[in-house]
């Protein structure tokens, strides 16, 4: 079943066309990894999927709802699409616990007690239960990102979007975050991941997409795209990073 779909998606910043008509279909439980050179439009593409970026043309469809329809209640759909950012974006004025419980308390009418129970379960699953009362400023990068994942999961989304979740981390912390993501994927979460971690892509992706200059240049299973890339630009890119 299709969870998320973009149709002829275009995005321009002023004169600059950043996305040039992208078609993508993500099935339920599928893990799609997007790779590509800097400035190719990966982040913009991802941010269009929950309309953090306004779409210039084309459609974004989540479940059966058209996000680009102006009548659409976008907040309702965003609850179902979690997002994890490169810079974590934890709320610095709130404790780890409050970071996680704030949205469910506001949007799901959870009681404080239920929200705490939910948060403790999520913190446990990302290995952060001992930091529930800490403030973000006292956490390491890896810990912050794990809390950020727990925060996104607190709305119990069906789809998770990751924008270079490990790029801002010291190398020794990359593993702990990838481990959490692997577990999520194994539990059947539908995921779209922009990353430079080719190991993760090889191991976890059902499909890898190579983007360049606002186009999807090539896509396929990881062993196929990494092992036998068809397009010259894909080969060039892979040569440079591998």
């Amino acid at each position: 079943m299709t969870k998320l779909k973009t149709e002829a998606l275009r995005k321009s910043f002023g004169e600059l066309e950043v996305l040039k008509g992208l078609d993508l279909e993500v099935k339920e439980g599928e893990v799609v990894v997007i790779i590509g050179p800097s400035g190719s439009g990966k982040s913009t593409f991802l941010r269009c999927m929950n309309l953090l970026e306004e779409v210039s043309d084309g459609r974004v469809i989540v479940d059966d709802f058209d996000l680009t329809d102006p009548k659409q209640d976008i907040n309702k759909i965003r609850q179902n699409v979690g997002m994890v950012f490169q810079q974590f974006n934890l709320f610095p004025h709130l404790s780890v616990m409050d970071n996680i419980t704030m949205a469910p308390k506001q949007l799901k009418d959870l009681s404080g007690e239920d929200a705490r129970t939910l948060a403790m379960r999520l913190l446990d699953s990302v290995g952060m239960s001992d930091k529930a009362d800490a403030y973000p400023s006292s956490l390491s990068g890896g810990q912050k990102q794990r809390v950020a994942i727990a925060r996104a999961l607190a709305m119990e989304p069906d789809i998770m979007l990751f924008d270079e979740p490990t790029s801002a981390l010291d190398p020794e912390m990359v593993g702990e975050v990838l481990a959490v993501m692997k577990k999520l994927a194994e539990d059947g979460m539908t995921m779209v991941v922009v990353t430079h971690e080719m190991g993760f892509a090889r191991e976890m992706a059902d499909r890898v997409i190579f983007m360049d200059e606002g186009n999807i240049v090539e896509e396929g299973r990881p062993e196929q795209l990494f092992g036998n890339p068809q397009n010259e630009r894909t080969r060039d890119f892979l040569d440079k990073i591998l």
Binding site: Q79, M83, F91, Q106
Partner: protein, 482 residues
Amino acid sequence: MNTNMKRVTVFGLLLLTAMLFTSTMSPLKGHAEEDTYLIATDVTFAPFEFQNEDGDYVGIDIELLAAIAEDQGFEYELAPMNFSAGLQALEANQVDGMIAAMGITPEREESFDFSNPYFESGPVMAVRDDDEDISSYEDLDGKTLAVKVGTTGAEFAAELAEEYDIEISQFEDSATMYEDVLAGHSDGAIEDYPVMAYAIQQGLDLRFPEEPELGDEYGFAVNLGQNQELLEMFNAGLANVLEDGTYEEIVERYLGDSSEVAPRAGFFGLLQANFGPLMTGLGRTLVLTLVSFAIALVAGTVIGLFSATPSKVLNVIADIYVTILRGIPLIVLAFFMYFTVPQLFGIQITAFTAGIITLSLNTTAYIAEQVRGGLAAVDKGQLEAARSLGLPYGVSMQKVVLPQAVKIMIPSLINQFVITLKDTSILSVIGIVELTQTGRIIIARSYQSGAMWIIVGLMYLVIITLLTKLSNMIERRLIAND
């Protein structure tokens, strides 16, 4: 999301308007059925009107008005304000009449109806006792003369200036004018003879090099064509008090040889004697500051949020508001609120209300800018993270962005609070008796400006220092939460 946001912001606008206007203005009162007249008078014009040490208004005008009102059986309330402000208030129908040692001149008769004259006096020039240079008007070449804005004395000075090379300094009250001469800034002052004579009798080191000019007759004024019944009562009452000797008694009390001379107190004596009025003035300064700042904090936050929303319309509204209100000097805004607005809309506003509106509107613009800056300083990833969770724009701002912005803004808000507190002193121009105006009033009766301005300055300094310390403590408490 858009319609929701619009609803929120429209609500905000309504609230703002309601707060600033509806609650503070009352419809024009009909004086025909409600026979308490509001009578403007000058604040500091001894011996015609001034405050004694108990804070009561006394003086020839005040007692004459009281005697006439009693004789005629009408009720009135005094509205003391600077002379020129009083003229404007009368023209704007903010008050019903004015008694302020006002000379009856042809120009004034174009705007006002005057009673029969009740006092005769002409302007006179005073110079420093120890000033040997000036013994007649001819010696004024190249000198500076102090006058009071809008007075007959000012007109006389202007005539002198046509003949001689004189520079003219304009002042709002007599005491400041005398001080200017005593301090050596001006070489002479022109003022009505009885007023100056009274001041010299009270111990001011001035003398008259020339005889008083021929005069001017003082009259009670109402706006042209308005309140004629009040004018008639005044004339009838005046005739009665002249006849029964009350008039003479009053004038004798202030200008006769037997009138008592107030002893000149030292610094502490001055402070002690005026402690009550000073504290009342300080209290009013604080109320003005706190109320205006509280309103401005709410309104400024709303307008600051306007400029941070994606809505272009709201951006423009915020921009227009800030541009206009930062572009108008506070004193002009105060005059506009107190004199122009009532004429435009046919409503009556008390000076205190006009003062609070003025200060709130002005402070709102500055706080809005600080809020805008504070919001812009919050990483935009914060709003995105909140929105990505499905939180609506309003909730995201309220729970995530605003709390962080507030922390960034606290130092500049404390600064703004201090500025607002000091700005209250400007509101004295529309007759609000806050701390600065209290100082002026005390100087008007004690003629001790040197010591008084030190006292007033110290009071501002102490209260501002205390409040700043307190705010810093709160700030530290808030930041420790991180």
